[in-house]
Symmetry: D2
Subunit: 361 residues, 4 copies
């Protein structure tokens, strides 16, 4: 279901099925024979880090470039939770809780899950009972809150929401870590009111996802809290995450941030998603979660959902009750107008066909 | 010392300071907007794996593409040592013993080191005392032997040596795992008598290093033993080593193996190293280890060694007694004739100057 | 809350606040200067294991004596889950999920919790969604089901219930492990229809708790499944659980099982608890969970619950809504009639006083 | 070899083959039905800790009672090494390096071994090369030095030696941890010039071994350094080392320290060992290590060593070259005069017989 299967003519399966934007590839080609310091201590990584620090207004932040999202999460959480009896809190739908094959537990730490409020987001109110309950040495010490922006359901935290979480965490001695696998799309969302500067001010660390935003691979972990940074390169190396040719990721992030390409690609994803959401809205189909970023969750009759999967390579997120399913549509940096139009048309056609069938009864 | 420092005009610091061969980059560019299955289940990874299986004459081998060497070692050893009380044996100079920040121990396993025979290689005779000693539940269970080809000192195992090790391991219930970070260079060495087919027949697993052989990054882990393969993709994912865009590595290995480019780049490395070794031989300087592959270890007076580091970005391998040092010279896929000539000339000049000074006394 | 606080005249705080039964101590004194093989390979451990095997009608079972319950759980689960991506399933109230400071996660494994059906027990129906959901390498592999007998709420599985779980586990490739910290009390419960022989036939491993059943310390892990036994003594040693003087635990279990003392002590616990439960029943106070073993959970107004804690050293299990609390009363091998009478009287007095107050209004 | 084998009439196999001194057992019997706070928070543990603090002149030390030596080592080292990339240094003969089944590595940390100077002891000079070598993030961070008093070879560090180590460690940011499995015997050694007060002043933590000094089981970990103490009870619980009836160990240590019984038992061990050493000295047999405590290592012809093992349950420490073996003789709190005389006589007889045979040639 995750990795296998036939490639469709138009694929809305995910945002990591097409390589990298040509400008990104060009940046690599241009430096093909250039000699660089290895292990991420090169000038391109440094330049990329500088641009990120600048946009975050966080001149003292450390930035590390890591190959993938699960690795970045495992690294960041290990840097925060230096004691094995310390635990991370996340939504029951959180990526670290369900989709990373127990990577956090494998580093020795418990992941405590709290119910999300239906849109993949968590709040201080949902976290409080965990703190109340864990009060002695027979239980783990909750020490970090993990959130994703955008969430697993494509929704985004507002500035007010993230601020409330941040204040709560600081008051209660919890680190706040934000998984930004799709941060580009979240930042460029129409309804978004959070800047990189805000996020840097409100969290202890977060990462800017490159893999799902038009790079060959790579995530930029922005470490704001000084405690987590102690000997962080030792941790990167020990976990097998230190790339000899670290400048490869640095070069791609440099290219992505120099002229705003990173944000341009995210915008492209969102605009494509928006057109599809508009098409869906023009029918009577309902959304499973509010469409805000490059992931659209739509509720369809089971058979129609299966058809969508079959024709456009989407995923079934969940089988709901009453013969309906929630299907996930994802746009990428490489999604074409042609594909968007084909999918929009599909929705219209299917909806009308449904209406007609209903009338015929 | 490892990652930092100024870039020299000519750098012989290592074989991972220059990006990727243009043909490799072209292969990525050509597939920029192609849609591929994620997580390494794509047609390019499959094609590359097929070519590797073919060259290994191992039609049933599983091949996984991993971002870097430390990750590949940690993965492979975890796949072999499923019980935490099982241990790996390696030379005291072995990469997993000294240069991976305790990555193996961090997965819970002891690394037992044995003295190497001076050239970085180990033999059944060196391993036997470890087996004799570990005989009850108060000690770990030695279960795997780790070797590198080429070794940390640039030397290579002969077919007779690897066969002896392999037979010994099989007789004693030990897995034999070969770290091939520089396997390309080893295979193309003049004195080499081992083929990929031999290595596949003699080991339980090995990897073909791409990072140090002209790829942007990536290693191909060839899993021959069926026991280690059980649920190996779960282990890759849990460790954070599964790349969403796995086809990126697959595409590069496909390009490297299609027309022999991989071996051509290795040959280039060796030829450059050989010219330098010849130049050194024409002087009176001695080698610290027999020059066989793309790493040359030369013994120089301390001051001269420091000068070499300073001018050509080499590393000091070891400070020896009597005011001498062993310096490491490494060639890469991108090493130019100009650089080779400059370094050769340097040796000649320095040697003559030394002679002159001696005569002047 | 757990370990501290003043000692009350009568304590119903737990079943591990008084040392060992005099007969147990005598058995140790009698062997004070006897020379024994260390590390659990002595004749007393062997004799105790034989008696346990005999009672279980499991002549091939291996029995290991471990110092405490958390250690025994961590050991057993490590023996079953040899791969780090394998996970244990338990009730959300399960001891390994909440009261062992993440000991299982610290060995690298995820603990997946399922809601219990209100009495601390789980069923195949509650487990099925976990199996449905975990279907690929991006998620852990559920591999073991953990239950407690008696449960955290003092209830017991019936033979029908445990048989259903056992059949379900075997059909689905799951190990079934039973935490018997209070197995003595469960076996001697009036409503119990499960014998040691049944439990040995239905589970893959379980332990017979000594600490909470009148021994100085010690649990007997009964390993039925052959897979888990591979090199189990290495695992015991590596975790720091192998006692040099293992014969100390062996001797105590030998003494406890020779003349039925173990079961006599459990019966004593249950009879004391039953008298208290009867006294509560004679009032109008309600139970939070069905009283079946040596743990009684009663619902009281908050103030009264606090008074109970204050006078009889009980614990508050949970603050309920509407101004009420669930309090836990535990009897031990050393609980006296005097204490039981005092507590029973307290309930009667308090209930009458409440009625009177109500009438006075 | 370790745990199995027939029990001999006189056993000098180890110091943990006989239960506990009668006074220790009496202390448990006297408190059989006393109610105590669980988890080590009881008045007996507190009283024992107070006596230890008093003898150490370390009023602020924390003392924790743990069931066994491997557990205590794993706990202490985990408390010092909070980061997985930090490593412990010990003699190649160190208990944590060879006889704990990789317990330290299983907590994620590398154990770096240095050659000992032949008597099981290490010095600053032996440690320095490790610090020189480990200088960047590609290698672990050496952070703790582990020594044993007495050592694995029965020798003891002098005050000058331990002071030199302590000063070296403090100067170099290394913690100094002393494994005192046989600390009683070391403290009572004739040549000893170190007091408990000295050891407390010179180390960051150490433990006082009870298991090998006449207790049923139990070690007292004395934590002097404040850094290691942070949430140490969480670590004890998570590792499965927290005994519900912690007061059992506390009571035994209280009894052992109240009237000097602990030191009396150690003295008894040493005096028995000394008589045996004197007997050996009166022959021409040589020692493998200087006899100072309750372990004697003697060099014998192979056949004679085997006979010693056969008759007195000793162990072969090492097969030496030239047909000789080093055998280990250990005395315990329960060693009788009769046994000592029998063994002494054996040495005399065997030596004379050897002389006679030689003369007859």
């Amino acid at each position: 279901m995750y990795g296998s299967g036939e490639i469709k003519k138009y694929s809305f399966k995910n945002d990591y099925s097409e390589g990298a934007h040509p400008h990104i590839l060009l940046s690599l080609a241009a430096r093909s024979t250039e000699t660089n310091c290895p292990y991420g201590m090169d000038k391109h990584s440094e330049a990329a880090a500088d641009m990120i620090r600048e946009r975050c207004k966080a001149p003292n932040a450390e930035v590390a470039f890591i190959a993938g999202g699960t690795a970045t999460n495992a690294l960041a959480i290990s840097l925060f939770l230096r004691n094995p009896y310390e635990a991370a809190i996340c939504a029951v739908t959180g990526h670290i809780n369900v989709h990373e094959t127990g990577a956090i537990e494998n580093t020795g730490h418990k992941v405590i899950n709290v119910p999300s409020d239906g849109d993949g987001k968590i709040t201080p109110e949902l976290i409080q009972p965990v703190l109340d309950w864990h009060n002695c040495e027979h239980m783990v010490v909750p020490k970090l809150v993990y959130v994703s922006q955008s969430t697993e359901l494509g929704t985004i935290y507002t500035k007010a929401e993230l601020t409330a979480l941040s204040e709560y965490c600081r008051k209660n001695g919890l680190y706040l870590y934000l998984d930004g696998a799709r941060l580009g799309s979240a930042l460029m969302a129409k309804e978004n009111d959070l800047t990189l500067e805000d996020i840097a001010a409100l969290t202890d660390a977060f990462y800017i996802g490159g893999t799902k935003n038009g790079l060959l691979f790579g995530e930029a972990l922005v470490m704001l809290n000084e405690e987590m940074r102690e000997n962080y390169r030792y941790m990167i190396k020990q976990k097998g995450y230190m790339l000899a040719k670290g400048y490869v990721v640095g070069t791609m992030f440099e290219a992505a941030f120099k002229d705003g390409l990173f944000f341009g690609m995210a915008l492209h994803e969102n605009e494509a998603a928006e057109k599809i959401a508009d098409a869906i809205r023009s029918t009577g189909f309902e959304f499973y979660a509010k469409p805000q970023t490059n992931q659209i969750f739509v509720i369809l009759p089971d058979a129609l959902a299966d058809e969508l999967v079959d024709e456009f390579g989407c995923n079934i997120e969940s089988r709901l009750a009453n013969g309906k399913s929630a299907a996930r549509i994802v746009t990428s940096w490489a999604t074409t107008d042609e594909a968007v139009n084909a999918l929009s048309e599909w929705f219209l056609t299917k909806y009308c066909a449904g209406l007609l069938k209903e009338m015929m009864k």
